[in-house]
Amino acid sequence: MQRRLSAGILSAITGVVLVLLIFLGSRGFKDFDSALIGYAVATVVAFCALVYRYTIWITRPPTWRYFKGGWANFLSWKNFRRYLTLVPKAWWTDIFGQTFIWRRSKQRWLMHICIFYGVLISLLITLPLTFGWFHFTLIQPDNYQMWFFGLPVLKFPIEAGVGFSLFHGLDFTAILLIIGLGIALWRRTRDAGLLVTQRFGFDLMPLLLLFAIAVTGLALTASSLWWEGRFYWFISLTHQVVVVGWLLSLPFGKFFHIVERPASIGVTLYQTVNQDVEHYGAQPQTGHCARCGDPLPSPQFVQDLVTTLGELDMRYDLGEEKGLLQEYCPTCKRVMRGQAYYQLMGKKFL
């Protein structure tokens, strides 16, 4: 109840702050494009829902432990020299380069990197536009002035490469998206493992929505460039409907991992800096299994895990001389269970 209340309050604050920023950034709604109001409202609702779910998620006992641990490490002067290189590296491997997906499969990596940059760049272009933070004015005879938050930031000739790139930014990201989504849909219709385990709502629906967004987005350009504006209103309405659907699905479906994923930076910090668990290669671990002596994550990791389990009403205390079950490596846990079983069975055969 307490968590829900906090989440609700934070979510409401987010909504108010975002609307205030839209008001300020669009100079009291003067630069706000009312044709884009559907996108703006859906984005505000999606943001509030994202903050609500993020708060509920981050305050779960195991998540909260890593969240606190990650920030404590980040803000610790002692660790500064180590995280100085670690954090940029983690941002590269976990977020911008996504090298861990490369290890899972190269095809998946290509697919994911296309979708990731397609979505990210599209959002970076779309959100400021729909909020009225970006807008363009014509400077006679053939120049454009770009404004951001009411401030002039860039002046460029209409026919120049800069203008072309800016105005077709969403077309480029749509093509990137279609490449990624093509690979994803190819995999999801061919891979026997995926065919049986995927769920329509969770795995396929977001891909189909993105595909519809990319295709209708390109169709808008096609309509204005080659079809003399035919079907424009129908396409733009369809585009708006699918984008709004996608935005509203963000907090509930697969795409929640966009905001979840950066948590791995905190986990990397928590583990590598403080807990001696190395993500990226062989580094000796400082803990030892209580039975076989094989490397185990540090005693701190084990202690934190035991505390988390305690918060979830679980305690695996094996008695004084044996300690806690979490002090044993997975192999020893299995072997000890086998030994207990054979003690019970002796030479019997059922």
Binding site: F100, H257, V277, L325, V335, Y341, Y342, Q343, L344, L350
Partner: protein
């Protein structure tokens, strides 16, 4: 409808690793087995034990509960799935929280993998690969009543780890009237026996 599940009877395990080989064939974790066959006391005995995910139901899936990103989902049938790849951040909480030593971890791919009771097969009424391949019935799939009608032994789904009892969807097959597998008490008995008699004097029980 009776719930179909796995029954693990290590006394029947001959260590042939057919279960591992069959598990490797699964398309959802291509080439890697999620079943583990362990020697219990190598050097003293050839006894082996197959381990599959026990699909804990009380407490519900400790692995899923300690997962910071809710990557381990539980199906309406109570099957604990392997980590959802888009969510798993590779923290290894599940690996060390699991009381049965089940989850495997791929450090480079940042991904936990584990037995998901061949969900693709079992939802269609088929046996999991391991039970399909096991030549001795050490891994057996079916419902409780079927097992009792066909097999000896007492299926038990309670395991006691010191102060923590864990109830599971998967059963161990124990001698009749054994209420649970009490790991610590049995290990203490084994240690007392070991201290009392030198193992070399024992008659070999596997001929």
């Amino acid at each position: 409808m009776a719930i179909k599940t796995l029954f693990v009877d290590p006394s029947r395990c001959i260590g042939c690793r057919s279960c591992e080989a069959a598990c490797r064939e699964c398309d959802s974790h291509k080439g890697e087995s999620m079943v583990m066959v362990d020697f219990i006391d190598r050097g003293k005995s050839v006894a082996t034990q197959p381990t599959v995910c026990m699909h804990c139901n009380d407490p519900v899936a400790p692995c899923a509960q300690v997962c910071p990103v809710m990557a381990i989902l539980i199906t309406p049938e109570g099957v604990v799935q392997m980590a959802e790849p888009s969510r798993c951040i590779g923290c290894r909480n599940c690996v060390y929280a699991c009381p049965f030593g089940v989850p495997k971890f791929d450090a480079e791919a940042r991904l936990m993998k584990k037995c998901n009771l061949c969900y693709d097969r079992t939802v269609q009424g088929l046996k999991p690969w391991c039970a399909q391949a096991c030549p001795t019935g050490a891994l057996w799939y079916g419902d409780y009543e079927e097992f009792v009608a066909q097999r000896n032994g007492h299926p038990v789904n309670r395991t006691l780890f010191g102060t923590q009892q864990v109830n599971t969807r998967v059963y161990h097959v124990l001698p009749p009237e054994e209420p649970m597998l009490d790991i610590v008490a049995l290990l203490r008995e084994a240690e007392a026996k070991e201290a009392g008699t030198a193992w070399q004097d024992q008659e070999a029980w596997v001929l």
